[in-house]
Assembly symmetry: C2
Homo-oligomer: 319 residues x 2
């Protein structure tokens, strides 16, 4: 079916961690079941305790299944910590906080990966088990690992993000393995048939760039007839969560951070969504811009923002 402009048309969202998962949950609430596909960053994936951990996929899974911890944004609600407590007692590392319910998923995924299933297949199996109506697609099935260049040397993503809490000064990124990543048929097909493409309010450098680093993926976004809209992860000149604003400062961008986001996505966007606290920046932006409240504190606010962004995106189809 060719893309149409009604509510049933497929919507593709590119998402990283907590902000992306929140916005994707709003889209899912707003759209008919099955209309949403979320392409998720796997650059944060890493090996821990011998298991393959996929933090962004899990944050999106838990968020869309509404079993996430609403306080932290990541991990499970009503989590227990019996394994971690005992592992620590027996001499294991505990800097990465793995709860029992969370670990259950890692164990299953790891076992299925060992049995030869792809991350795409496993993620689909999990979202169906968790009764998630949206498709969730890892950006690719090959390992792509974000390496953070800092003033303290190169740090694997989780070392930078969790262990060092983003404290080292950021110089740049390499997505190790991206050259060998292969665009999955499911990812290509979703982008080719998308009626709307939305870049979630995720960290452009850490969460969205790894997705765009998969060979051929950004070409499909550019080639799409669908409007491409990004939601700014900046609110009031700062990040809602995470290190994006700190990283921008460390790259010399001290003000007009929404413009920095737009320039970063150069050539990709048809529209941009900024927070009302940044309305002074709107006039600097060289593309159609929706200014609204982008803070998502609960399901109604996620739903409202998603509906506004979808409406704004649809309006760009006729421009």
């Amino acid at each position: 079916m060719a893309p149409t402009t009604d509510n049933l048309s497929p919507v593709v969202a590119l998402a990283g961690g907590v902000g992306g998962a929140k916005f994707a949950a709003g889209l899912q609430e707003t759209l008919p079941p099955g209309a949403l596909t979320v392409i998720v960053n796997t650059g944060d994936d890493f090996q821990h305790w011998g298991l393959t951990i996929c933090p962004d996929i899990d944050t999106v899974l838990y968020g869309l299944a509404n079993v996430n911890n609403p306080e932290t944004g990541w991990g499970r609600a009503n989590e227990t910590w019996d394994v971690l407590t005992e592992t620590e007692r027996l001499g294991g590392e505990a800097w990465f906080r793995l709860g029992d319910k969370d670990l259950a998923l890692h164990l299953l995924r790891n076992n299925w990966l060992k049995s030869g299933a792809t991350l795409t297949e496993i993620t689909d199996r999990l979202r169906l088990t968790l009764d998630i109506p949206s498709r969730i697609l890892p950006m690719c099935n090959q390992p792509v690992r974000t390496l953070v260049h800092t003033d303290e040397g190169d740090l694997p993503f989780q070392d930078y993000f969790v262990r060092r809490r983003c404290e080292p000064t950021f110089h740049g990124l390499t997505f190790v393995g991206a050259d060998n990543a292969v665009l999955a048929p499911e990812v290509a097909e979703s982008l080719q048939t998308a009626a709307q493409i939305i870049i979630c309010p995720s960290n452009p450098y850490l969460s969205v760039d790894p997705i765009l680093s998969v060979p051929g993926l950004s070409d499909l976004v550019r080639a799409s007839a669908a409007p491409v809209v990004a939601v700014s992860p900046i609110v009031g000149g700062r990040a809602v969560k995470g290190p994006v604003a700190k990283m921008m400062r460390e790259m010399g961008h001290l003000e007009h951070l929404p413009l920095t986001v737009v320039e970063h996505y150069a050539g990709l966007l048809d529209g941009f969504v900024i927070d009302q606290q940044d309305r002074a920046d709107a006039s600097r932006l060289p593309l159609p811009t929706l200014t609204t409240d982008t803070i998502m504190t609960d399901l109604p606010s996620k739903r409202r923002l998603a509906a506004e962004v979808l409406q704004f995106s649809r309006s760009l189809m006729y421009s």
Copy 2:
């Protein structure tokens, strides 16, 4: 130091699962700290959820650390089951009951194995963390896997033992990989310097034979100047726990099961310990025999049996 006959002399026990771990705990209570080395069956080891699980090593670790579940004999006391519950919910297999504390150890071990540590090194690290004064040695560092031949075909050990609850009729065993197993220096040294060698009341076929299948190991037991004593796993013509009597019946041994055990260990033993309920069988046994109460229900009964067996074993040094 050459072996002497006092209480400080090194004692080596060969042990399998629950019965072996109970008796080893009694030996540890009776002997001075550091005098006991337990060589443990690894033929039951298997891969589950992508992890290497070593049931007998863990039963001995938990038993000697006094953190075992006294009701089941295996697993941890005060265990929780959050991971298993969630794994089952997410579509995973749950036939092998992995508790949270137990799983913590499997995760650590698996990770350490992946990092290149040997099972011997890992087991020693764990027993030190668990404040166990005795040495615990896996029978070897290479994978040896017990395959059970039954009237329903060949079954990997855990499939026979846990999943099928030993129901299929037993025809025999193969210890797959035993030909390539290498006697570890620690195992060899412990047997060469042992003042007493004790075969615990473990299943001769499933628990002790895999240990004896490691090339060179049974030769060291035979060559040792130390008395070798086995404690019968049979009480009143039946197994205290597990399928040993059922297996004997299926091999055509319908009565005088203590004699069957002695004949099975032909050429290895200097003495044998049978339960008082089997005293009628004592006269049939072609070697020095201690008849006593072999049921271990609590720490005092484990300690009493261990002390009696050690005294009996020492008496054989002068025979």
